[in-house]
Amino acid sequence: MSIPNLNTDLCGIKMSNPTILPSGFLGTSKSLLKRVAANGVGAATIKSVSFEAREGHKNPTVIPFEAGLLNAVGYSNPGAEETAREFANLKDVSIPVIASIIGTEPDDFVRVVDKLSQTEFSAIELPLSCPHTPGFGLLAGQGTPESTGQIVSAVRKASELPIFVKLSPNIPEIGNLAKAAENAGADAITAVNTLGPGMLINIEARKPILSFKVGGVSGQALRPVATRCVYDIYESVKIPIIGTGGVSTGRHAIEMIMAGATAVGVGTGIYERGIDIFRKICREMETWMSENNYNSVHEMIGIAHE
């Protein structure tokens, strides 16, 4: 039996497999992008960047719990200029790299896009969905169809790159929101950002553990909700979907793809299975696909809807 083909085309971006490093995981430096590339990832997203540098919340910012991670990093990043410097000459990194861009007003996004104009990013991701950073995402009302439309339109004018809009799993009518993004010119939907927020309390300290008290839930806890979001969005839009949330095995990745995803984000899985999780997932996908007579990822996209 021939080895199945994991090649993935996402909005014209060629990937050797459908796994993507989501924003906020290891995407702080070019050296780490090379490291994940060497571990078999198909494409990688950098840590979200705002125009000005941000320190983010105080520690603890990331805490494991029984079913995943709770985090409130608070969008720490060195700002657009420093990011443009760190990620210059992206050709050195053998995989496509996606810039994740944040702002509080549509204009902020455009200013960051402008600063990054000389770089070689393959796409722009707009996370309009962080549940735990004041001034951004859900806490700034960016998760409405109107606001999403405005921000996407503004960035659409400023850049020719494919635009991915990253949505929150907290939004009940996620299909409508995806539709608004598509109508405003988005090229793909990343589904989803972290869930909640949630809280963990240390009962001896009598205090929430995260310094910001609440944080977004990722990992296994998020997986069924993320899969359902992908399934719903697939029925609402024509643009491709990057299914993200709790994927840590080849089976999970195929589940996302059958729900409608073209590519699959793998973040918290790194904590569970190590940085070589990308290679492991690809091997597991290949084995399953050849046992079950699939030749390509493409054949599996959305087939749970049939």
């Binding site: 430096s29 780490l32 029984e66 720490s76 240390n202």
Partner: protein, 275 residues
């Protein structure tokens, strides 16, 4: 359902005893068992304030301790804590020192070099090496910042100002010592300029070498990328790296990331207040 290992999340532990080690340096002792390898670190949480990494500097069957130099806001608050107060501990994390066969056998010749509060990261290591031919060197800015000087019988002390021990840096006399002891391995923790010198020395003389790096940390579990040093996560791949690994790390001795993720010179990093 999976049981979370209790130390993945901070576990509140009562401070059992506090020891003044030197001017500005205190040790905090806990009556708890800790499964710890020399070179690993724990995250210490001051609820409502912040959480930072520390090496374990005392280790017994049913106790452990950390040694903390007062530097900024966080360590100042830590120094205000008294016996009976609780701190949140999670870990240990990371990858500690490794031991070549002749060191495990007790037949090897070893040099351990601690600089400043980096000395706290090598004490448990030193205790593990007692059967080997062992040289311990410690350097500090001045006499009052030296600590653990009475903890080991054979320790050679250095101060920058000559107020105690030999004036100068521990790295000044490596040539002489090596001629005498023919070291199989050198272990070090301290300012990265100092560690860089030891690294160069070991490279030149083909001696095995391991150094414990310090970077600002967030997650401590290898996912956020904050502690990166040339593609390595110091929290998970390190904090201890060997000569081979370090030779691929251009940032070693040169750069570190601020909390924002900005990569700056180690000098700028040292001047920055993180909390």
């Amino acid at each position: 359902m999976n049981e979370i290992s209790p130390l993945d999340q901070p576990v509140m532990m009562k401070i059992d005893k506090i020891v003044d080690e030197s001017d500005g340096t205190k040790s905090f002792m806990f009556k708890h068992k800790l499964d710890y390898n020399p070179g690993q670190f724990i995250m210490v949480w001051l609820p409502g304030i912040d959480e930072k990494p520390f090496a374990v500097s005392y280790l017994g069957d049913d106790f452990f301790g950390i040694t903390v130099l007062e530097r900024g806001k966080y360590t100042k608050l830590l120094h205000k804590m008294g016996p009976g107060d609780q701190l949140g501990i999670r870990g240990p994390f990371g990858h500690g020192f490794s031991f070549p066969d002749n060191i495990t056998d007790g037949k090897g010749s070893v040099c351990v070099i601690g600089g400043g509060c980096g000395m706290a990261s090598v004490t448990v290591l030193i205790e593990r090496l007692q059967n080997n031919n062992l040289t311990v060197l410690m350097g500090a800015a001045t006499s009052t910042s030296l600590f653990f000087k009475n903890r080991y019988k054979d320790i050679t002390l250095f101060t920058d100002d000559g107020s105690e021990g030999i004036k100068g840096y521990p790295t000044d006399i490596l040539e002489d010592l090596h001629n005498k002891h023919r070291y199989d391995i050198m272990y070090t923790c301290g300012p990265e300029v100092m560690m860089s010198k030891v690294y160069e020395f070991c490279k030149k003389h083909d001696i095995q070498f391991e150094a414990s790096l310090e970077r600002y940390m967030k997650c401590g579990i290898g996912i956020c990328g904050q502690c990166v040093c040339d593609g390595q996560m110091v929290c998970k791949d390190g904090p201890v790296f060997d000569l081979q690994a370090l030779s691929n790390m251009n940032d070693f001795g040169k750069h570190s990331l601020l909390k924002s993720g900005k990569r700056v010179s180690l000098k700028e990093y040292a001047d920055w207040k993180s909390c």
